[in-house]
Amino acid sequence: MTLNQFFSSLGAPIILPIFIFIFAIALKVKPRDAFKSALLIGIALTGINMVVGFFTTQITPSVNDMVKNSGVNLPYVDVGWGAAAAIAYASKVGLMVIPLAIVVNLIALALRMTDTLNLDVWNFWHYAFVGALTVAFTGSLWLGFLAAVIAELVSLLLADWMQPSAQQYYGYEGVSFTTISSVEYIPFAIAINWVLDRLGLDKVKLDPENIKKRMAVFGEPWFIGLIIGLLIGIAAYWKSLGTFQSWVTILTDGIVVAAVMHIFPLMPQILMAGLVPISKSVREMFSKRGAARQINFGMDTALCVGEAATLSTALLMIPITIVLMVLLPYNRFLWIADLVSFPWFVALMTPITKGNILKNTIIATVYIAIGDLIITKITPLFTKAAIDAGWQVAAGTAGIGAGSEGISWLHYSIYHAMANPLGIILAVAVYAVALWGFKTHRKAWYRACGYVEEPSDK
């Protein structure tokens, strides 16, 4: 039996825990804690597999009927970023991404390519994810690792770029934000924000408290799930609304999607609980080397999402995205689980627009219109990567995806670039030029992100 066959037969819920256990022991985690970590991760992967399998089995018939009967052509089902994280960690790149990302970060720090020490081990899954897409696209594991490394270096650069502005706006000292699904929109936000300012939109102020009050229930995942489930059912069986059977299906769809939205987050929670001893160990290892030079600690953008402008924009984006997904003729993606992921998407736009909800919403809406095109193209590959990672996707499902991850222009660019030697050179060149530009014109780049220089700056 080859090594590959050995790994594939055992599957991710067994292999990943073994690797995690070894890695945790290497990081001096106590054997009992390491064992529990490893088991929790295997349990989380199994749990996620259960939910994705159940969800797609239950909802696929109605989704397909909806496409057939109402012309709402949205056959690709959104299973959410939790599922994407699980796919990422369960992939071959995922096994090694944690040690790989740490080593790359340390080298980048030593070579002064970044000032950020990324403590956000949980979000390494994004690097593994683009790696998994690359492996599915090119067939090469090495290119997958290269993709992960490039994604990491880009996220570190963007984090450094945004750091002063984010610190000024959110008040977190010495912290930078490395979450790819937030930082990759910084350049886009800067560009659109510039245009909106020329149009005088920075003068229009929307009231966050009002928005939060009116839309509060909208933000609760179970409510979103219920509405979407019912809408899918009604769209599927609108021709037969007079029959009892139709309503049985419609109401079932409602409760199933509400259940998935409410219960599903518990699975990645278990995954995270498994990772905690490892990320604690990594953090302790690093903080001993910490203060020799001015280092930013890379954290999850989750720290920023409570802020009023971000939250209000995220709430507004829920109905906007639902309408857009139906209206855009090129879109095939049915947003469900990731309708709650907008806080991350918006969090780093807020310091750029200075907390302007209207500008945030316009920037986000424009990007989603583009993002729907990207995700429609990416979904077949995502689905392939999921099946490669061992997920049981129900028969007849046209495709599954994660809204927040699939709209990523960075992932799309990277895996396409990796398929071509010229692409690889181009990707590295773009990064190198951006890095050089940043290091030679720091102040200008900081200002572009919304940083206002203080009198105390030298």
Binding site: M272, A302, A308
Partner: protein, 99 residues
Amino acid sequence: MSDPKTILVVCGSGIATSTAAALELKEKLAERGLKVNVKQCDVFSVAGNLAGVSLIASTCALKGDFGVPVVSAVPLLTGIGTDKVIDEIVRKLQEKQEK
């Protein structure tokens, strides 16, 4: 000794940062001999999860009046200033007890 108090840990999704903060919180409070129940939720669902909660520990810059003290749990994630924040939480829980 009164019943264990309930702390609500809040983050963007109720999944990642709140789990890390919740585990750290339980561990550090246990070191001080304090047993607490910890609930987690996402930033949208705070109002619906307040029953029986004595304190909110948030990793996401939560603002608003929820009738209970709100403490930033970010130091639990960065490892910087952890003891100070635990001190503050212990103090706020004791204040509540004395009411």
